[in-house]
């Protein structure tokens, strides 16, 4: 197989060769991912400020979250990043069955993550921790009392906003993975051309990275009670 044939059917006419075409895609994708980082950056900035202002209240509010479920979800999402990396690797080697298998595995793990997230939302609803008129604070016995209940409610505004936007990104990822699977099935990818697999892989990994920060910031604020 001649590498990067001048008349590759995958080469768009505005590019000199396939490596240049691929690098343009990678650069554009990273530019988009930087805007995503900036988008979350504003929320992380606001989080840090309120965390600093309402220190004991946010400690107490964070302790209401199930950190074992959070840790398990982190494990699920990191595993889905591994299968996504395997998918790109398979595509680069032209192994289309392995590509399809790993896309499916990534999708299943992603759905598992969102399923667990929905279960967590349900338990928060049951415990009256959804911000709004239904918000009812029940302190955990043996932990320090807080008087500013609204500050604890604010923590849950951030919890639902941050995890909600993250879960929304996951849903978009599901659509992208399904599209990739169909394209792989239709024979659109080969060892010579698999850029869409790579770019959607980058998106999936970024969503994973966001969770890597959300998990300690929301679930692990202060698990040991220092009185």
């Amino acid at each position: 197989m001649s590498s990067h044939a001048a008349h590759s059917p995958y080469l768009r006419h505005q590019f000199d060769d396939l490596p240049q075409q691929r690098e343009s895609a990678a650069l554009g994708m990273w530019a988009f991912l930087v805007t995503e980082v900036m988008f979350f950056g504003g929320i992380f900035g606001a989080y840090t400020l309120y965390r600093h202002w309402y220190f004991p209240e946010w400690d107490a509010a964070s302790r209401q979250l199930d950190h074992y479920l959070g840790a398990f979800n982190t494990f699920v999402l990191l595993t889905s990043s591994l299968t996504m990396a395997f998918a790109v690797d398979a595509a680069a080697s032209g192994k289309i069955p392995a590509l399809k298998r790993n896309i499916l595995l990534t999708l299943i793990l992603g759905v598992t993550f969102v399923g667990i997230k929905m279960y967590e939302y349900y338990t928060k609803w049951e415990h009256g921790l959804v911000p709004g008129s239904g918000f009812h604070w029940h302190p955990i016995p043996g932990t320090p009392e807080i008087t500013n209940i609204n500050a604890a409610e604010l923590f849950y505004v951030f919890y639902f906003t941050m995890t909600g936007i993250h879960a929304f990104h996951m849903l978009i990822g599901f659509g992208l993975l399904i599209t990739l699977y169909i394209q792989a099935k239709l024979g659109k990818f080969s060892a010579e051309y698999y850029t869409p697999v790579e770019m959607i892989g980058l998106y999936w990994h970024l969503v994973d990275i966001l969770w890597v920060f959300l998990f300690p910031l929301l679930y692990l604020i202060d698990r040991n009670v220092v009185l």
Binding site: W30, G41, W53, L78, S93, I209, F213, P216, V226
Partner: protein, 129 residues
């Protein structure tokens, strides 16, 4: 066109990531006091770097793509530096300061209506209810 598989290094990174998850949960259970946050965030940045460098194969990209990949963190750094140059140096930043804004407006219900009549937000809420 032969592709050298990266599967082995992916598995190695995955194991390292799982070890870091275990470490960050374990560390959260230990009373570290003021060190808890720096430790947790350092572990998160280490995990993010491993994912960016190996899973997102920035390691093998051109310098231009490398710069783009880390620009987001750089710009977020600028945001945080200026945000906290402001807020952390404010006199009314402490909860015990009489003029601290968190003593206004946002109350446990029983306290609503007490004092702070000079603050417009309290007034507005008082009239609303």
């Amino acid at each position: 066109m032969s592709h050298h598989s990266h599967a082995k290094s992916y598995v190695a990174v995955y194991i390292a990531l799982l070890a870091l998850v275990a470490a960050t949960v374990a560390v959260a259970m230990v009373p570290l006091g003021p060190l808890a946050f720096p430790v947790a965030i350092s572990i998160a940045f280490t995990k993010a770097f491993l994912i960016i460098w190996i899973f997102m194969h920035v390691k093998d990209e051109s310098s231009l793509v490398k710069i783009f990949a880390f620009l987001g963190i750089g710009w977020m750094g600028i945001l945080f530096v200026f945000l906290f140059c402001d807020y952390l140096t404010r006199a009314d930043n402490r909860a015990d300061y009489p003029g601290a804004w968190q003593n206004y407006g946002i109350h446990a219900p029983a306290e609503a209506g007490h004092g702070h009549a000079d603050h417009p937000k309290t007034d507005a809420e008082g009239h609303a209810h």
